[in-house]
Symmetry: C2
Amino acid sequence: MRTVYCGQVNETHIGQQVVLCGWVNRRRDLGGVIFIDLRDREGIVQVVYDPDLADVFERASQLRQEFCVKITGTVRARDERQVNKDMATGGVEVSGLELEVFNKADILPLDFNQTNTEEQRLKYRFLDLRRPEMSNRLKTRAKVSSLVRRFMDDHGFLDIETPVLTKATPEGARDYLVPSRTHKGQFFALPQSPQLFKQLLMMSGFDRYYQIVKCFRDEDLRADRQPEFTQIDIETSFMTAAQVREVTESLITHMWKEILDVELPAFPSMTYAEAMRRFGSDKPDLRNPLELIDVADILKDVEFKVFAEPANNPKGRVAVLCVTGGAKLSRKQIDDYTKFVGIYGAKGMAWMKVKDVAAGAEGVQSPVAKFLSADVITALLERTNAKDGDIIFFGADTNKVVTEALGALRLKVGVDLELTSNEWKPLWVVDFPMFEEDEEGNLNAVHHPFTAPMDVNAAELLANPANAISDAYDMVINGYEVGGGSVRIHKGEMQKAVFEILGIEDKEQQDKFGFLLEALKYGTPPHAGLAFGLDRLTMLLTGTDNIRDVIAFPKTTTAACLLTSAPSEANPASLEELSIAVVKKEKTTDAE
Amino acid sequence: MRTVYCGQVNETHIGQQVVLCGWVNRRRDLGGVIFIDLRDREGIVQVVYDPDLADVFERASQLRQEFCVKITGTVRARDERQVNKDMATGGVEVSGLELEVFNKADILPLDFNQTNTEEQRLKYRFLDLRRPEMSNRLKTRAKVSSLVRRFMDDHGFLDIETPVLTKATPEGARDYLVPSRTHKGQFFALPQSPQLFKQLLMMSGFDRYYQIVKCFRDEDLRADRQPEFTQIDIETSFMTAAQVREVTESLITHMWKEILDVELPAFPSMTYAEAMRRFGSDKPDLRNPLELIDVADILKDVEFKVFAEPANNPKGRVAVLCVTGGAKLSRKQIDDYTKFVGIYGAKGMAWMKVKDVAAGAEGVQSPVAKFLSADVITALLERTNAKDGDIIFFGADTNKVVTEALGALRLKVGVDLELTSNEWKPLWVVDFPMFEEDEEGNLNAVHHPFTAPMDVNAAELLANPANAISDAYDMVINGYEVGGGSVRIHKGEMQKAVFEILGIEDKEQQDKFGFLLEALKYGTPPHAGLAFGLDRLTMLLTGTDNIRDVIAFPKTTTAACLLTSAPSEANPASLEELSIAVVKKEKTTDAE
C-alpha cells in the first residue's frame, strides 16, 4: 500500500507524491499547522498538515500517539533553518494531502521513555518492540541469521532439520519432557542440542551440516539464560579440529565485518591450562590487561603460614594480581573486594599498596609486610613488574579457590578501575581436560561424553583418564564463550571406554546410547563440529547484556511468558488423554 | 582432508593427484586388479588398485562394503571401451596410491536395494540416508530452505523467531503439552503454528516477517502427516490479499524454476464455490481433465425418484462425471467404484456407458436408462459432451455427499485410467466461507478465528454469519494444498464478533486471547499472511508421496522414533520434580 518507507524518504523524492503507512510517533500543533512524526520499521519522517485542506486538517487534528495510518503527500525540502541533521529524513518533510486511519490507539500502558519496569515491558511486548532500540536489535538478529546461512551455504554446508520431539539427551542439564498420548506413560524430551543427530548425519555421509536451531534447558535461569535458546549448529566430516576452527573463525570475522564494520584480528589460541593460570578463567576477557602471577616459589619459605602452606601444597596455589593504579583504593573498597572473593571460597585477602617501587620493602604499605622479608618483597615487586600507585592482591589457597577468586576479582577491578579496553578480543581456548573430578571423586565429562581425547587410544585413556586432554575448543570473545566444539569419538571402542570412565554401565549405555554404539559399527567417518550461541552473539553485536533484549518473545527468569500467560493450567480432559495427573504437594503449594 | 568430492572428479583432473574421503560402495576383484567404487555425498568414482603396489594392494583387498576410507591416487582417463556414460565420473578413474581406513563396517543390517521394510529403514536411518535416493531428497530440501530464505531476505522480510514453549493455541488439533517445573501443575503447549505471534509482530511494526519454523500437532497420523512439521511462515502489514498472493506465488515460481527448471504458468484463481462445483474438492487437481457436471435441471422431472428427489431438494445435488474411455470398465470395476464412493456416503451409483452418441438413447447402455426418456438421455449426452467409449457416473444425494463422492471418484478414475497428465497445475482457491456448521448446528471457523471476513463490518457479520465469505486463500498444486493464508482481523470489535459467533464466551476470550484483544487496542495495522508446508513442497519437488522421505529423522504413524526409541519412560525423579505422575489405567495397559 505504501510507495516508500518513512525512514527512507529523502531528497531524491522531492516533488514526488508518496504514500506512507505507519504509526504516529508524535503530533504537534504549531503556528496553526499540524506536524506528525510518522514512524515505520525503517525510521521516522515529518508530515505537515496545512489548514488549507480543511477536511483532512480536521481529521489530522484527531490523531494521537500510535494511531496506525496511511498518509498520501508530496515530499518537499525543509526550510534551511528547520533542517534536522540528527534525522536521516531531516532534510525533507511530507506535505500531507490525504489521511486514512487504519486503527486508533487507546492511551498506552507503556511510555516509551523506558521508565517502565521490565515486567510491564514484557507484558506489553508488542508495544515495547515498537521502540527503535528494541526493533533494531531484532533486525540485527535477522541480519546475523541471514549472513550465517549464506556463509554456510556458500561453504557447502547443508541445512538439515533434526527432531524437536526426541529422546532425553545427556548434556547434563534438566530436559523438558513431553508426555506421549500414543505411548501412554512415555515421554519425549526437547533437545538440549542436536548433538547425536548431527553425528548421525555425519555417519550418513552428509559431510557438512549446519542448522540454526532451538535448544531447550530446564535450568534455573540466570540473566543471560533462557529456557529456549538458539544455536548455530555445525558438524563436518573429514576435517581436523584446526580446519573446523578456521572455517568458523572466518564466519565470525565475516559477521563482525558485515554487522559492525569491524576487522577482527586473527584469533590467538590459548590452552585451557594457560587461560586458567594467567586469567583464572576458561573464557578470559583479554580486553582486561591484568594477569594472575604465580608467586609460590617466592613465598614457599616465608614463615607466614597463610602463604607458605599453599605454596608448598601440590594442590595449592599462591598468586597475585597487580592492579594498575589500585593504591588509591580505600580501606572500604578493599574490604568489599575481600568480601567479593569470599564468594569463591577465599578466606580473606592480603594486599600490598605500592607507593615507591624504588624504595623496595620501604616503599610498600601492607598488613602482611611485617611477615615478609625485604628480599621477598623486592622479589614480588620485580615478578609483578609493579609500578608506583599499584596494589597487589594476594590469593593463597587451593588451586581452585585462588584461580577462581583472582579470576573473578580481575574482571571486577578491571571494570571498576576502567582498565578494560573497548576493543574486540577474540581467542580460541583449546586443550581442555577430558574429565573433571566431582566432590565424590567421580569423573565427569568437561564437554560431553562424545568428545574425542587427543593422542591416546582407548586402552591408554582407560589407564590414565584423569590426565587426558580432549580435542575440544571454545571460541571466546571479550570474556563470553560464544561457541564451543570438539572432535567427536568415531570408534565404538573409544566411546565405550569413555562411558565406562563416566560410570555409565553396559545396560544404561544400551538404553540411552544403543543406537549410537550400533551406528559406530558401520564405517563412521572422523568428524568434528561446533555450536555457537546465536543469542549471545547477537547480545555482543548489539551491545546488551540482557538476553531478553535479543529475543522477540522471551521468558522471565522463572520461565514464564508475561505476554501470553504461559504456562497455564491444562484442560483436565487433555491430561486424561495423556494419562498423566498433576500431583499436588503441600510443600509445593506453600512455596508458590 | 580431501582435495575433491568423489562425484566431482572429472576429465579436468586427469594427471593430478587427488585425495578422496568416502565409503566403499562396492569392491570387485577382476583380472588381478581391485576396483573400488568410492562414494561420498556428491557421487561415486572408480578407484583401481594395482598389484604392483603390493602393500596397499593387500590392504585394499581387505576393504568391504561401507568401510570409511581416505584414498590418495592419480586421476587417469578410462580406456575407451570402459567409459561409463551413465556415471558423471564415468570417463575417468583414480589409480590408487595410498589407502587409509578410518573405520571398518560390520555386515550391514540393511541391504541398499530397498527390500527392507520401512521399519528396518527407520531403525537404521543413518544407513538408509546413505542411499543417494534418500540423501538427494534432503539435499533438495536444504536447497529449498536456502532459496526461500534468500528470496524472503531479498524482498525485505525479517526472519524473527517465535517461542516453542508457548500457550495452548486454538488451531483445532490437539496440543503437545510440556509440564513446567517452576510453575507446578501448569503446562506449556508446543505451537501448532506461530499464528498469534506473527500477528503480534505486525502490531509491533515489523511489517514483513518470515520464519521457517517447526510446528506440532498431536493428531492421529496419516501417511502425509508428522507430529512435527515445518512451515514457511509469512506475515505482512499494509498488503492486500492480492499482494500477498503475488509475492508468494513468485516465490513458488522461483522455487520450481531453480529446483526443477520448470516455468510454472501464472496461477489462476478459483473460488471455493467453483472448485467444489466443478471438481468436488477445495484443492482440485487440475491435471485431471474430468469435471463434475450438474444435471439437476435435466433430471428434476423424471419419475426415477433417486434422481428427482435430490434434484428438487435445495440441499441436494445431482451431478455426473463423464469419464473419457470409461465404457471399457468391467462390471467388477464399476462395482469397486461404487463401493469406493460408499466411503463418502453415496448409496449406490448409477452409470451409463456411451457406445454411440449419434444414436442418442439407443446408443447408451445403462441400468437406469429405462427410467429416463430419450430426450433426457440426449440432454445428458449433450450437457456432458460425451464421446463414444465414455462412461457417465451419476451422483444424486445431498450436496455434501455428491460433491465429496464424485470429487474423490474423479481423482481415482483419473489415475486408474491414466487421464491425469504429467504437468504442473497450480492455482489459488479463494473466497472460502467464514464458517461451517457442524452436526450440532454450531458454526466453526473454516480457517481460524483470526481470519477476516470480506466486505462486512462486525454488525453485518453478526447478523448473517452463515453466508460470510472470508478473505482467505489456499495455494494448491496438483491436488495438494501447499499453502494457505488470509487477511487477518485487525479490529477488536470484529475479533470479538467472530469469537461470539464461534460460541467463545467473554471469560474464555479473556483467558485464551486476552493479550490479543488487548493488543488490538493500540493501532494494529491491517495485516495478512500465508504459511507453506515445507515438507509437502519438498515431497512435490522430489516426487514422493511419503512425508518420511523428506525428513531426516521422522516419526512413525504412531509418533515414535524407531532409531532412538523415543518416547521412552521418564526418570521418576524428573516426574516428581515436575509434580506430575503417570496414571496407569487398566484399559490403557491392555491396549498396549
